[in-house]
């Protein structure tokens, strides 16, 4: 594991990703202290005399939005929605996916078939449409959005873990401990699961990227995080009809989403290179 770390630290792209994640994480955590203004405050001088949003300047570094609120402050507070959903929803998806994938792979037989057929079924569902339908039914809040994403995003990791567990279950060391009389539960938790950790780490990290993107997309479609809670996708949703005159309202939140999603991808990719020697250099 320590070898993996030093490999990642030598990878410039991964370092860049790690730096972005730390910056965004700190912005989300310390939003009340680092944000220059109250994100919900509508400033009297926040709009031009014609009532249009103000472009970036010395006071409002990233400009203001349609209601005269400071965009930078809203972006900093919006990092919370992205980070919370990215981490929580993905953690939930990883737990669901690992549990289902590992039990299907380890138990095999009828239970395994049923679980994997169900996974096939979920794979065939257009995830976004399903998420939209669920979000529309459940009336979105931050946690509901996280739940919806988790319910949609566990499928990929379940498949990967399933294949991996299947391969592990037939290995000699598993047979050896079985011969020694270890219980199935003990074999699964003590001997199989530890070998799955690298895979879980890699796919868990890559999954945060797709979770962040899905949250942004749902918010952009108006079924994600609801106003007044600021979210990056939501900011673009609210200002898209204005973006010809105020392109910064799309550009800055858009760049924020791209940077964060890219960073988790870069780190996940570097982790894969570091932890899985067979994948080295192929990526």
């Amino acid at each position: 594991m320590s070898g993996a770390w030093s490999r990642i630290l030598r990878d410039k792209a991964a370092l860049f990703g790690l730096a972005v994640i730390v910056v965004v994480g700190c912005a989300a955590l310390f939003a009340p202290f680092v944000s220059p203004f109250n994100p919900d405050r509508q400033f009297a001088n926040g709009l031009t005399l014609e009532g249009a949003p103000r472009p970036p300047d010395a006071i409002y570094w990233f400009g203001t939005d349609l209601l005269g609120r400071d965009l930078l402050s809203r972006l900093i507070w919006g990092a919370r929605a992205s980070m919370i959903i990215g981490l929580v929803a993905n953690l939930a998806a990883v737990i669901i996916g690992t549990t289902l994938g590992a039990s299907a792979g380890f138990l095999g037989g009828r239970v395994g078939t049923v679980i994997m057929r169900f996974t096939d079924l979920m794979m065939a569902f257009p995830a976004l449409l399903l998420a939209i339908a669920l979000a529309a039914i459940l009336r979105p809040s931050l946690w509901i959005v996280a739940l919806v994403i988790a319910l949609v995003n566990w499928v990929q990791i379940a498949r990967v873990i399933y294949t991996e567990t299947r391969a592990l279950a037939t290995r000699e060391f598993v047979e050896a401990v079985r011969a020694l009389g270890a219980s199935r539960w003990r074999i699964l938790t003590r001997h199989v699961l530890p070998h799955l950790v690298p895979t879980i780490l890699v796919w868990g990290t890559l999954g945060i990227s797709s979770t962040v993107l899905l949250e942004a997309t749902l918010s952009f479609l108006g079924v994600g995080v609801q106003p007044p809670t600021p979210s990056w996708g939501g900011i673009i949703f609210q200002s898209q009809s204005y973006f010809m005159v105020a392109p910064w309202l799309v550009l800055f939140p858009g760049l924020a989403i791209i940077l964060l999603a890219l960073s988790f991808n870069l780190v996940g990719d570097a982790l894969r290179d570091a932890l899985d020697p067979t994948q080295r250099g192929i990526g």
């Binding site: 065939a124 569902f125 669920l134 952009f220 010809m244 890219l262 991808n265």
Partner: protein, 306 residues
């Protein structure tokens, strides 16, 4: 081969059946009462009850599900609450626009992804390789609505090269197709790079090199022909991504396809339309996967065994 085909088709049919069950259950979880939606707000309780009876909503769930399946088998996707026409007709009228968009997107994906992947593979381990792969990651990490809006701003507004959305000829198609193609192109670049690297390792490539074939000839003719297989299969698997993409891209560009239809239906909570589009999309995805399996199974006999 026939047995392989039969088994895959049977599996696909089972998945489709499962999908109908899930959509059916979801449409039940919706708080809105269909009979009330159809009758309108001012209808009396008697009218609502009679509509409920007409629709069979007063019968037990399994019976309703079988009825629903029967309708589906006849190509009947139900009636829209809001537009008061058949969902099947709505989907059919919107489908051509979406298919055009997909064709354009596949064109851009391949145009961007394949050369990038081959280039990266041929320069494996160099700076050019790394740079191309980071670019492909940016393409993958950029949400389609951001890419779409930025392209629209740059090439539609600032430089005024393309129309600002709407449906029409090739000029209208260019930006939305490119938007979808940028994200997909990133995946294709990564996939074609790894399958190219695989192919370049094979003995026949060494033979070709030993016989004095030029680098380009090796890459395009000898390795490329074999590396293209997994990439072709990817087009089939890609339908799922498209189904997500079209909802967003059609919303951004005002493209009148099934994505926009679903998007409008969601805002009006028009459940039959949402479910109709979901089923059509899911069937398309299953067919795409099936096609991918058949293509790779036909071209690569090793896969059939499993």
């Amino acid at each position: 081969m026939l047995r392989f085909l039969a088994r895959r088709v049977a599996q696909a049919a089972l998945v489709v059946l499962g999908i109908t069950l899930v959509t059916f259950l979801i449409s039940f979880a919706v708080p809105a009462d269909p009979a009330r939606m159809i009758a309108g707000r001012s209808a009396s309780a008697d009218t609502v009850a009679s509509i409920r009876h007409q629709l069979g909503l007063d019968q037990p769930l399994p019976v309703q599900y079988l009825r629903y399946l029967g309708h589906l088998a006849e190509g009947d996707l139900g009636r829209s609450y809001v537009q008061r026409t058949n969902v099947a007709g709505l989907v059919e009228s919107r489908l051509p626009a979406t298919l055009q968009l997909m064709a354009g997107a596949i064109f851009f994906e391949l145009l961007l992804g394949l050369p990038a992947g081959a280039f990266s593979a041929s320069r494996r381990g160099t700076r050019a390789d790394k740079g191309t792969m980071v670019l492909s990651f940016i393409g993958v990490s950029a949400p389609q609505f951001v890419v779409g809006l930025l392209l629209l701003y740059l090439f539609g507004y600032l430089f005024d090269l393309f129309p600002l959305g709407g449906y029409g000829g090739l000029a209208h198609l260019f930006l939305p197709a490119l938007t979808l193609g940028i994200g997909g192109g990133g995946w294709y670049a990564r996939q074609s790079r790894s399958s190219m690297i695989d192919a370049l390792r094979q003995d026949y490539v060494r033979t070709a090199r030993a016989k004095g074939a030029g680098e380009w000839r090796v890459i395009l003719l000898h390795a490329g022909r074999n590396a293209i297989l997994p990439v072709v299969a990817m087009i089939g698997l890609d339908i799922g991504n498209f189904m997500q993409g079209v909802v967003v891209v059609e919303a951004v560009f005002g493209w009148p396809g099934i994505g926009q239809l679903a998007w409008q239906a969601i805002q009006e909570l028009d459940i039959p339309v949402i479910m109709g589009v979901t089923i059509v999309a899911a069937v398309a995805i299953v067919l795409g996967n099936l096609l991918a399996d058949i293509i790779t199974g036909t071209l690569d006999p090793r896969i059939r065994v499993r």
